[in-house]
């Protein structure tokens, strides 16, 4: 079992090393190595799943990595229901996207660099998934940040791509600072970072963290906010679409951005503690989970609103990802991580599908990303058309596709917790259907809106087969018992149900929520159809005026950051620069330097070069010494 775990973790990094060291000039071989390693990782993960289930869960293997005095740092693997689910999602979708990349990146001169980046990402992501303690998660957390940076800026000669990479890295860094602080406080108070130890400590004594409780939760949540692109650090994700489309699908839609949700689910016992603040901050008086829930809801709403007025196909999907991530985070926030992980799984399938479909269209239209220059793709690209349709319906939550079940689980729970959150989540469901309908009607239906759209052709099988496989998963993932699997992880006993009963379950369990969200979906679809079917241009800007402009310009958040935070930071940097230049460099270092220089110049005068001068000084010195010796 340990061997399989080690192989799963290290195969990708070995392939990355092999590609970087030996096959940089041979794109085909590099692609082969990378695809082979990821597929092998998937097969090994399935083996691990079978082995672990038959052996009994959870399974923990840990070893001491370094020990200094009383401090010992452990690394290890934790195989339980949560990590197995995530591992299968990551390696499965990862393998499909590797294969798809072979087609998408065909002919790119830096093909090998691309595949080695993907392999580094797979290594880091499996590291996060398998880690049994927060420190190890943090290491790999940083490494996914790095691989994300490398792949967003893959076309680094393009300034916008290089900037987007930097932006993503910096936003993540802000979040990770909080994350690291949280880890340190946790280590200081509990003395351990292992998840199973933390869980048992907190189960025995929920007040073990004392007045730090809520603060630790919020600091750990900072990491989530950065990685899963929640408000207010969400600004990096839409820009990250500068990377190649398969990267957007794998890293910025299906897996890496979901790592935040995974962390929330993993460390749920910390977040779920009742509120406890230090004396001086007691007036805050909200718990970590409430903050998580409202951040998620706000992100979901904000991103869905912005998505309504975007015209770049990948940006619409990026905002949609943000909005769905908001759903997942909110699901954990309303104390129902089961639904969060459920939605993570189904979303990974259909959002990867949507991105890959978009990538297929982009390739067919020679790198055209504006939806108003597409259209009429049913005849020309049937496979892409139908798989994209499946993805759209799943995302909108049309029963019986997978998205319906997971989204309904969240909405129902949101209504049972607070009407406000419930209303927001239904509103987001409506907006989701509306903007996805807009995207679909404009980009795929109607007449071809440009020359390249008229001449488009279906992409090669290496790209369409992953689409078909993902479409199958997007349709049926609702029946794969992901929710019951996760319920058992959190110690809940699910009601066993057959296929048909599963389909009816949302309507029996919480009929209000299910019907309302279905109504929202229908409304959104009808409205999108009315406005955008065969539309020549977007009618919203003329009808909504400044509101549409605010949506299109993302509520001017980027500009706001530019003019406040970045402005302050620039000014602060300027002051620091001046201080360094004039006070430290000038007054302090300068005094020492010029002083030494002056003394040196003076003393130099004593070097006359004449031996007799030296002899005279020597004699004088000797006389002084002799006098001193004799008289004292």
């Amino acid at each position: 079992m340990t061997n399989i775990l080690l192989a799963i973790l290290f195969l990708p990094i070995l392939s990355a090393a092999a590609i970087t060291l030996f096959t940089l000039r041979r794109p085909t071989v590099s692609a082969g190595i990378s695809i082979g390693s990821s597929c092998l990782t998937f097969i090994l993960s399935v083996l691990l799943y079978r082995g672990a289930v038959s052996q009994g869960l959870p399974l923990e293997i840990s070893f001491t990595w370094l020990s200094v005095g009383a401090l010992s740092v452990e690394l290890g693997f934790l195989v339980d229901r949560l990590s197995l689910l995530m591992l299968l999602v990551v390696t499965g979708i990862g393998s499909l996207i590797h294969i798809y990349s072979r087609g998408y990146m065909q002919g790119d001169p830096s093909n090998s660099r691309y595949f080695s980046g993907l392999s580094i990402f797979m290594f880091s992501m499996t590291g996060i998934v398998l880690a049994n303690n927060l420190l190890m998660i943090f290491f790999f957390w940083e490494m996914v940040g790095l691989s994300s940076y490398l792949l967003i800026g893959f076309w680094m000669s393009k300034p916008s791509a290089a900037d987007a990479g930097k932006k993503a890295f910096l936003c993540n860094r802000i979040g990770d600072t909080g994350f690291l602080l949280g880890i340190i406080i946790l280590w200081g108070t509990l003395g351990t970072l292992g998840f199973s130890q933390i869980n048992s400590l907190l189960a025995a004594n929920p007040a073990a963290l004392g007045s730090w409780t809520t603060l630790v939760g919020l600091l750990l949540f900072c990491g989530v906010v950065g990685k899963s692109a929640q408000f207010p650090l969400h600004v990096w994700l839409p820009d990250a679409m500068e990377g190649p489309t398969p990267v957007s699908a794998l890293i910025h839609a299906a897996t890496m951005v979901a790592a935040g949700v995974y962390l929330l689910a993993r460390a749920f016992s910390i977040f779920a503690l009742p509120a406890a603040w230090p004396e001086s901050l007691a007036w805050f008086n909200f718990s970590a989970l409430e903050a998580v829930a409202f951040t998620g809801a706000l992100t979901a709403l904000l991103a869905a609103l912005i998505a309504v007025q975007q015209n770049d196909i990948k940006r619409i999907l990026a905002y949609s990802t943000l909005s769905q991530l908001g759903y997942m985070v909110m699901a954990v926030g309303i104390a129902y991580p089961v639904a969060g992980m459920y939605h993570l799984t189904t979303h990974a399938f259909f959002k990867a599908l949507l991105f890959l479909g978009a990538g297929s269209v982009i390739v067919a239209l020679h790198h055209e990303q504006n939806i108003w220059k597409m259209g009429g793709l049913l005849k020309r690209m049937p496979i892409t058309f139908f798989t994209f349709l499946v993805g759209t319906l799943a995302l909108c939550g049309v029963p019986p596709l997978s998205g319906f079940f997971s989204k309904d689980a969240i909405i129902a729970q949101a209504f049972s917790k607070s009407t406000c959150l419930g209303t927001i989540s239904v509103g987001v469901a409506f907006l989701t259907t509306f903007y996805m309908g807009r995207l679909f009607f404009v980009a795929f239906m109607g007449k071809a809106r440009s020359q390249s759209a008229e001449k488009s052709q279906e992409t090669p099988p290496v790209m369409t087969y992953p689409l078909i496989l993902l479409a199958i998963a997007a349709v049926f993932a609702g029946f794969w018992n992901v929710d019951t699997w996760m319920m058992r992880h959190y110690g809940l006993e699910p009601e066993s149900a057959g296929w048909f009963a599963k389909l009816l379950y949302p309507f029996e369990h919480a009929p209000m929520a299910a019907l309302v969200s279905l109504a929202a979906v229908v409304c959104g679809a009808v409205l999108a159809f009315k406005l955008y079917y065969n539309a020549k241009q977007d009618v919203l800007p003329s009808q909504l005026g400044s509101v549409a402009r605010w949506l299109k310009d993302k509520f001017y958040l980027d500009e706001l950051y530019e003019n406040t935070l970045i402005w302050c930071q620039d000014k602060f940097a300027l002051v620091c620069d001046k201080f360094d230049r004039w006070v430290i460099g000038g007054a302090l270092v300068g005094t020492v330097y010029h002083g030494v220089d002056l003394v040196g110049r003076l003393w130099r005068l004593s070097q006359t070069g004449s031996v007799q001068t030296y002899a005279a000084i020597f004699v004088f010195g000797f006389v002084v010494l002799a006098y001193w010796v004799v008289n004292w």
């Binding site: 130099r604 005068l605 070097q607 006359t608 070069g609 004449s610 031996v611 007799q612 002899a615 004699v619």
Partner: protein, 108 residues
């Protein structure tokens, strides 16, 4: 009377006085003369002044230690003269001056 007699009887003090006078002459020559060879000779004078003092101490203290040191000094002086004269000869061969105040390449 007694002091006059002891003044006339050659003793350690006389030797040391001569030694000091020789040494001071050597130092003066070393510091003031410009010709390298004369400077060398002054140096030898200083060494020999020290030798004189050492031999005198050796005689009056009834110990041979001082003379041993003298042997050492003589040896070193010989070696030093060998090196020094060789330098002077090579300077002269290159038609360079042998005046001390002209040899000031080490000046700042």
């Amino acid at each position: 009377m007694e002091t006059f007699e002891s003044f006339l009887t050659i003793g350690l003090g006389h030797y040391l006085t001569v030694s000091v006078i020789l040494f001071c002459l050597g130092v003066l020559g070393l510091l003031t003369r410009r010709n390298l060879i004369v400077v060398y000779m002054s140096l030898e004078l200083m060494l020999n002044a020290a030798n004189l003092a050492l031999v005198a101490f050796s005689y009056f203290n009834k110990s041979l230690d001082g003379q041993v040191v003298v042997m050492l000094v003589v040896t070193i002086a010989a070696a030093e003269v060998a090196v020094g004269l060789a330098l002077i000869v090579s300077l002269a061969r290159k038609k360079l001056p042998v005046w001390v105040n002209d040899l000031n390449k080490l000046k700042y």
